[in-house]
Symmetry: C4
Subunit: 172 residues, 4 copies
């Protein structure tokens, strides 16, 4: 488990979608688009929300399939966003959270501007080389295959509340 590069507790986790919460596949079945999400990523983001780390999902693309997945978990999400930093900054201000208290998980160049703002920038294992070169932490798991789960565990351990997840499932 890598050491967190911040002293403060993390209060917001920004997440990209394609390649981060999915494996990067953008499918089409006829004219209907589809995405591959991962059960453990969604579950862990619910734990984060329950334990004081707000997941905020920001995607550069609009997609009915992404909206459906977000609705299922009732995650706060922003789709079709050109300027991810501006959206993140608004949420951050509303929540009265400083950039040092934010983490961000991404995989590709469009995520870089926001990764540069947050206190804890994190890349999925199969992120673009430019992203892995910049961040301080890279997950073992690939995007859409447990990267978000790994990040949630890192952050909840850093925040000192991971044991509360384990207790919920008789794992402690």
């Amino acid at each position: 488990m890598p050491e967190a590069p911040v002293a403060h507790k993390i209060r917001i986790l920004f997440l990209d979608v394609d390649g981060t919460l999915t494996d990067g596949v953008i499918g089409f079945a006829g004219e209907r688009d589809f995405r591959n999400f991962y059960v453990r990523d969604g579950l862990s983001l619910e734990w984060a929300r329950d334990l004081g780390v707000l997941p905020i999902v920001i995607s550069g693309r609009s997609s009915p399939s992404v909206a459906a997945r977000m609705a299922e978990h009732e995650f706060e999400h922003y789709l079709g966003i050109k300027d991810k930093v501006a959206v993140a900054d608004q949420v951050r201000a509303r929540e009265q959270v400083r950039w040092e208290e934010c983490a961000m998980l991404g995989d590709d160049l469009p995520d870089l501007p926001l990764l540069k703002r947050v206190g804890w920038p994190i890349a999925v294992a199969d992120a673009a080389p430019e992203i892995r070169a910049f961040v301080k932490t890279t997950t073992q798991a690939r995007g859409g295959r447990g990267a978000a789960r790994e990040v949630v565990e890192m952050i909840l351990r850093h925040n000192g509340v991971w044991d509360r997840v384990l207790e919920r499932y008789e794992a402690k």
Copy 2:
């Protein structure tokens, strides 16, 4: 083939869905959810049922795609279940089977309470570390890619009826 940690024959096999009977992908095509199952897992669970091992599928989530797959095989299934132990206990009592005569195959923390009850708790190869640390048997195959098939063969061998599968297909 690992040795079974129980002396009794196994009469019920409880199974999780996402990450166990599927590869963990929860897909959305527009608003329609989808899942990836595996042909050999479903076929082997039919052998189990024919040969005296009742497959009982219990998922924490509700999903039309999971319901459709279960209906195809006419497997007894419970979806959207918060307390898996309570549901399993009811089935067990109805079938007049003791916990020691039950096996369970799972992959993640929500499966742990039920894994702790059964005589033979089993994890898929790519289960969460907390699950692999607890169970006595971990399959070689991943969830949704033959883990259930491997478990059915283990149980039917343990129960002394595997040859009847081979005979059915001229394999013996």
Copy 3:
């Protein structure tokens, strides 16, 4: 390229579907089933048909998605078949072809009875161990990822007509 275990030219190639022409995934999107086929497998089966090797697809299951794929290529196919040997025998008799002139590609126990009849039984790389133990040839490629293509090339080379495929694409 393995040597063919038969002296005669191959005139019919029997093929299983799930796990052979697909990767074994049986998906459901809502109540609609889906399958993953592979572009190079379908293309190569068209070459086989054009060059005197009739592809006959026989599946134990019925599925609208399999029927759609077969229709796209206009391959002769039989779905929902309990007794694959009986169906294959009828086609064989109609075509006036002896069992020694037939090949079969399969992946799992339900394919074994037919594999035992044909002159050239072949397993996909990720076939069940009982199948790999029986056949004389196992492909390098997995089911639904080029196994059929590999088999078509093997058979057309054996039949002495592979160069005609290469010539068609200026590859010779």
Copy 4:
């Protein structure tokens, strides 16, 4: 980064679809066909277009799902094409571009005639052996998993404009 086999700048990039912009899976969900594309491939082809390299997509097959993906990016595309060379030649003439100024990315035998015409023929990592044997450059990434992205970066570096991509995302 391999050296380009041409002295001129590349002005057109021809691309195959199945196995090149997708992973080769041709899926069917009921009667509806589907394809797996990759987020980073589509994004990079937009960079190419913005920076003077015209992406032209030519497929031997017709498919509503491919048409939907192409429409999303507004890429010029030709589906159901028997003679890829003829179509490419028309586009080339219209754009007043010589064959030496064209690149082509493909994966299988039907791509070979066009690969033989262009100045810079390129194969995806998992291309058919006949294709890899012919081209001068083979990508590290597989088809539908970043091969097109890798090619776009190679071409834009060769053309001397890759830094403009990096600048757009604060990566330089």
